[in-house]
Amino acid sequence: MTTLSGTGVTPLAGVGTVQWYDPQVELSGVDASESIDPETELATFEQARDTARDELETERERTADRIGDAEAEVFEAHLGFLDDPQITEGVEETVEAGSTAQEAVAETFGSHIEQFESMEGRFAERAADLRDLRDRLLRILTDSDRVDLSELPDGTVLLAKDLAPSDTARLDPDAVAGIATVGGGRTSHSAIFARSLAIPAVVDVGEELSDIEDGTEVLVDGDAGTVVVDPESTPATEAATVEIRTEQVTTADGRAIEVAANVGTTDELAPAVERGADGVGLFRTEFLFLDRETPPTETEQYETYRAALDAFPTGRVVVRTLDAGGDKPIPYLDLPDEENPFLGARGIRLSLDENADLFETQLRALLRAGADGAGDLAVMFPMVATVAELDQVLTRVESVSDDLTSENIAHTVPELGVMIETPSAVFCAREFAERVQFLSIGTNDLTQYVMAASRGSEAVTDLHDPLHPAVLRAIDRTVREGHQGGAWVGVCGEMAGEPELTPLLVGLGVDELSMSAVTIPAVKAAVTAADSDATLIESVLASETREAVRDRLHLG
């Protein structure tokens, strides 16, 4: 199992089989002895242009239907370039001078692409549009077979150097389990399309992505911004197939540890049950708000939460309220464009302020589902930094419950919890724990904020590691203060899904681990082998460097 880091653009995760996509077209060589007839070449170009126009119009309509009119305008721009008089003149002149239609298209577009590449900012994006259009024309002219993006087999994870918007718009969200690209950015059209189609996506992974071969099993986690290669083969499990345990497991010294799944859509519930999840430790709700023009209704949300509770009739389902903002923009919320979204309005900050109505609707749906669903509901709140915020949240919950009572609607106030993602939350863990039933440590964000190292930045990859002593001490403090305040403590970040770190987390006193369903069997096996080795944990917490931590845990 290898984990590559990039920038998550869709707060969803998916597992599937790799299919590489390379839109580059090889030009057909021309035999020197063949004579080139300009008339024929121009007619060929005109035909290709007609075909491209038909394709673009079809894609524009489909994008307008599936994503939105604004996104469909990308194709409008492509149509504009396609019929541009400068392109027409350029191709005609090059053909008249003795080139084939293919050569003329490559050359004419090439000169304009260079011009735009030399410009700055948004204008450089036009170069990408022109490349995309040039490749489309060349594909038509060379009659190239290429991967048909609209017909990918179910469970495909599409990998590419970069994806053009027109590529992403062709994807079938039901078939594509995820997208990961070498380059690209969070604000590119492709990223926006992926979000709108609710396809898990990670961009800007870097050249390491190119080492992954077709047919490899990968997990694309857009929430964590990671691509996990061979998620089921871990050092601990490569030798043998891990047995699936459906019962709750205990450590060698008899502590029961709940091993739960991180779930991003209702489609992931059944696989989580199959892998032996005791419940859901993080049910992300962003998917409900994506791929649509208006927010989901109370009824729609109720049915979704109900489905999750019914999937785990004897377990607990922890639902995280909408965690928008930061790297998780929601199209119709029109969130402020912030200089630093990770330190701006995100998570509970939005729910208590701009999105108070959305928050109220979500709470109503949750309290109702909690009364009617089979499993035990728990609700947690993202990005809480202060006791005052938590008190406001609890007041909202109470007032929603009062409303439902006065409307005579069946409901229940579920277990409530706070996500520990900021240093502030670590230092307030005791006060939080006295007010709610549980704390759940989101180690990806906690690492980012403790180390002041962005998850998406190549330059600070070494700092973005939860094994730095500072992060481990923050986790240790949270667990101790949480327990003293009377709350149970879980971990729902990526770290929870790494079996080699299970002894460490169990040793720190964590009560629940939640992860992508694929790693549940391996982690359950690691729990049964672990015991709370106080000496080891003491020495780890006293380590001065992450290298010393790794040595003490015998990690390579």
């Binding site: 305008e73 504009g80 541009d84 400068q86 735009f116 410009m119 994006e125």
Partner: protein, 90 residues
Amino acid sequence: MERVVTIVPEAGLHARPASRFVQTANEFECELRIGPADGSDDPVNARSMLAVTGLGVEHGERVSVIADGNDATAALDALEDVLSTEEAVG
């Protein structure tokens, strides 16, 4: 005839506003050109997406639209409308 307009769309004259501008220009018969109002660049063909986006005009900058022909006034009205309308947020 000539008309000077300040670019309102936040993103300047890039793909979407530019394609709307070119589409609008194509609805008229007259000759149409557009360039920076300060004359720092020569005016370009208003019916060419490449030329229009290639100007690199940003939000808040002033451009001069030049029309020559029978429907020049109507064309200038329509093009001014495109350039002074905030881009719809999708």
